[in-house]
Symmetry: D4
């Protein structure tokens, strides 16, 4: 509708990419694929520039196929439901990020967080299956916890892990409840409430299953 | 059961069309298709008169096919899940309606609102993908906002857009939460609550994903 | 209305004491005082026999005063909101019960659990303020945890303690969420959901703030 | 990451088996299969030792097939959604467990509880379809109720059975709400709340449909 | 605003009594006092005619005092929070109503139901404190249950009583959940859900603590 | 397990039919098919006697096929998801039942209610699509409303119909919320709450979509 | 912090009045008093100019006293919990607003809506106590309903009134749920859900008890 | 129970101070006063050492008086409900923290956040009453937003402010929902859900009204 300097890039009449975001915030916009048609995702893939890696999140296999047809060298991580293009990891800066994950079933979300922080320029490690039902599994890694600059904790079920981790370290904790679990408080409500009520201060919570948001926030915190 | 002047038109023993509605309210009844069988929708299509456009809302592709077999020149909008017959748009009257939509995924609901208001006789424009995460995308269109007689704001996720739009204009805002989003407050509860708690007065809320209701209310407000 | 052998003892027309309960279940009925008038509680106090200690739970100071006027040697524990008469502790039998309590604010509920189990004939100890935000406070007492026959864990806020305790021991854990906390999941909903979703098996949950129920269940489990 | 004596057995980089659990708690870890890929479950099946029966819970037919390919003599109970390996039942010890089940539709959960307690070394019986709408069906079995050392009560819909059973016996009751039912309080919320509010003390509740947790807790209580 | 034959009697500009209700429905309108000012209740008391007993429900002591000043011979039942004028009970007709009440704390609601049905012309009895935790207390009265034409069951906590009563009799059961209880499902939500999910058919539910509604419905059912 | 006179008829080890129910309550037990396997439903069909019609409710097409193989002359109503055997309607007694239904989409539940009451021996009529958005459609039938002995009102969406119907008649109203609708309060919660809060007394509510329960309760009320 | 032309007027360091709002939106900002200290409200009262009436909403008697000390000629409406200064009503413009109110207890909210619309320049009438339990009370006023330009419907309990009113008229309806009621859906949740699910289109909903928001929105709609 | 080097300092038998926390986490433990008796708070005040400022949070006036009697030079901030001792602010380090607050009523929580971050060694500024209903009030301060190292955003009602702020800056945002508001989503649920669903990434959420937690987390993030 207007012909301003490019702050916004129109795609058809259905999307306005916020291309100003890198200048304004330092981080590029990601493409949230849920609820978009394959044609819309494909059209967006066709107008990207390659200055910064663009993340397609929550992408379905069908959507990913369409994007890969347009951008054949893009990275596709099926577990994390992510496509990244261009696929080169940016140079690492800032302090390190550690992703800690309570159970094996929480891995997809943990992996989405890991990839996001990595493609926003941070060094990231992942420590899996260290839930509190066998607390020694966590305490064996106390040193790694103390060395991290930011810790992302991913947990479903009782969501108790961030309280314990938060109580051990100086670094800020980004807590991600997952929808792993069933029964009362299913869909992630139980671990979400647990994390919001953490008796250890220093825990910031993102939405259920929001690995992308956790990775983004951790990357911002870890920036120096 | 009775033979009154036609206020009600019986279809089989399962439906009583409220044919009196145009006289009483000025707007014809729409056919809400969810939960109706294909045979029921088809039978209703067979008894319509062509004085006013009748809207079939939330119509499935199978139901639409059955209606189009009976009314071959009807308009079918797959995105909005609507069939309209007769397909001629009524003459425009009243002030203009602007539909503003936060994200690409909210488009089906926005389109249902747009078509509804248009077929009830209003002039309608649509402005897509102007969510508050890049507020400049909205502010670039401040003039269009000020010119509208009524504004329909469609948003999922945080549902923050109606508060910002409502704070900028004199026109009434009809807010439609969508079920776009996930996790805590999924299914549209989060944007619904946001909109009901709008810190800007002048916002009337309809049910989640209720594009039809929003378009109808806006058309009534915009009538002169 | 009937003149059976005494299974039920009528008090006015408002209460029927289940005096058969000791024979049937091995444990006497308690008097839940919330929602009863002072006159009703007083009248019940007047018809008790002294074969087994009767517990008045959730008793208000005014109700307690009325009971003590009738039964002057009764024990009144203001913190636990309990009156017991006769006040002599029964002989100890069964295995031992350990009450573990996350924070100082959870003490009233913990104390209600402790007194209940003690007056049903168990040996009970209490370990206070060992929440998971400083996990070493709990681990210092690992030996006591291993020695207990049953463990009652009382916690508000994130309710994470039963998962950690349950993961350390062979004994069954009775978990009591408390209404300590605020905000999302207030009133005890957050710790209740955490406990129901404990990733460590072996945790049975009672209602929020239900110290009496926890003590009773623990006493039954610890019976030999 | 460390080479400690074996407390934890790493499986790929996605699982850390808590092999220390038998020493620490007296009961082996189970493998919760929901949310794990077939490859992950298969890999775990490949590293088990045969000292104690390992339970794979909530296993899908596809996952079960993969496990049985690795462990051909494992027991597969399709109703209970469980695989057990090695399939030999351990020697019986402790007091007996009785599983009582309100309706036929609650049987899968009841069966999961029964198998769990049995494979943890207890003697277990099952009494099906004795809901409170025909209370005589339950009362006919009062003797069996009095003889049990622990009673697991499984119920959906109104969840009223544990209150009635709990009021009849000295033994502790482990109550399992099921997701059987519909409408208000569906998904098991209605029976869960009923059980937490049982007017008979002596009832410990586990999560909705958590037959495994109920069987484990009952086995711990019944241990002598 | 209009001068119709008296269907409606205006009181100031704040109330329109539905004086047509006896003709239309056979039962007079009651005055729900919560949220009305003392002056409003007093003014309404001043315009009543004495053809049928009028019930003031949920009346506070201050409101009652004001009504009694206007109608000195009115009946005031403090427990049921009711004033009735004129105080003469109407002639009895129809079949009998039995009010069954689970605990002493449920008595105020039970009494409101009893008085309502009685002042609408039914014969009513009350059976108190027969909750399911001691099921024999109920079964002792099975004959009375079988003789009643309609049974009102009032219960808080687990709300299990209507399922058991409903399973024993041919008469319809009107179930009233009460707000007696605490913790999960407090405020009456737990017994409300239990009653809606009753596994015995033949149970109609009214709102939490709605003794008036239960008594009114029972009176209509019992009319002959 | 016991050989009593036949109060209970065991089917395999998974069901105990309450064959005593007709003697005790006057109405036979129905078979709720959801959550039962096809084999279980088939086995139950094989042990029925033909003294009273047995209702199979919420039956799936596959389950119905299995039952019809055993009982070829049974009545199968696909809309109401019901099978009845033997298919002869019992003699009519008592006063009449009127089923009133707000929208076409509520018909399956209305039909389940109608068939249930009819097979329990009542005369039943059905009035469809008379929702409050066109109140004249209802008021045209005021005479039929006044003549009914009991009225079942079935409504989804706003659930406003029972309040209006209840305000017009002397007969008791059985209200059935349906899961028709979407958005806030979906799944029937919105009409359920509306009906529980009906400003007209005389409305008893059953669970969402519980046409069977409504028909059963109405039949009991209408018995004379 | 900045010295711009006056868009914002700082009051101490705790408030920034949006004095630009009249220019931008055509309506002045109101002062929401809940959660403000008496000193803060008083300070704000001291910096107002008299160009447009300023509304203090949800004002407590103590806050009102403090404002009246500063602005002695202000209008104080205790029922509506409002102070207005200057107290002169603006000239009337636009079409008329009708406030319809279901019960006497809903009057405070109705009155807040009425005063708000009036002080924003509209002609407003109020029709009280016309709930749907006696539908004739409403239908007697059908003419007044048809003449209104906008209708505000205020209702608690079942919240059914907007569906019926909306079904009768061409004018848009602004629906305000109130917290009048108790039990299930208390606090206004029941009428809120009813209104959002209105089966009559043309209903825009504001937050529970938000009379101010309803009056403001109606005034905007009625502007010409 | 043990005499270890001082990791834990027992206070009576009701509290175990986590004096090891500074060594372990770099930040001292705070005393959460809600639910503690005056005597307990007083006793804790008596055993503190003065190496680091100790924060008493959510302190009541009575509790504060008791602490000030023991520690007369402590700082008491009534608005923030905080006592700090010793009252000297620590040396400033790290990057700066900016607290942004939507409305005047949110100030107590904002102030608690500000004091917490300040006493943990950060430089903190506060910007009040810049809610999104008048977006220009926020945009006037865009420069201050860009300069902050961490931004705490405090908002009730619609909770829309963090989405807008998060969309403008590179710094991480800590979002605090407040219980300011009423009606649907009251008690802070509405802004909590809005913040968890923020369409701008980079927002970490703490519990409702948890100013202390927000200040602590911000201080950790801002540490360098």
């Amino acid at each position: 509708m207007s012909d301003m300097p490019e702050h916004t890039r129109n795609v058809g009449d259905f999307a306005r990419l916020d291309v100003d975001r890198v200048r304004r915030r330092g981080y590029p916009e990601a493409i949230y694929c849920e609820g978009k048609t394959i044609a819309q995702v494909e059209a967006i893939a066709g107008v990207l520039d390659d200055e910064h890696p663009t993340l397609f999140t929550r992408i379905s296999p069908q959507q990913a196929e369409a994007v890969l047809a347009v951008l054949p060298d893009a990275l596709y991580d099926e577990v994390a439901r992510m496509v990244v293009w261009p696929p080169q990891e940016p140079e690492v800066s800032g302090v390190s990020v550690l992703v800690v994950c309570a159970g094996t079933s929480d891995l997809p979300v943990a992996r989405e967080a890991m990839l996001t922080a990595r493609y926003l320029g941070r060094s990231v490690d992942l420590l899996a299956d260290v839930g509190v039902a066998g607390i020694h599994r966590l305490l064996e890694h106390e040193e790694a916890l103390h060395e991290a600059g930011v810790i992302i904790v991913v947990a479903g079920m009782d969501g108790a892990l961030p309280s314990v981790v938060g109580g051990l370290v100086a670094a800020p904790v980004v807590a991600v409840p997952t929808s792993v679990g069933y029964g009362a408080g299913a869909g992630g409500i139980a671990p979400l409430l647990t994390m919001l009520n953490s008796c250890a201060p220093g825990v910031g919570v993102v939405n259920i299953d929001n690995g992308y948001g956790a990775g983004h926030l951790a990357a911002q915190i870890a920036a120096r």
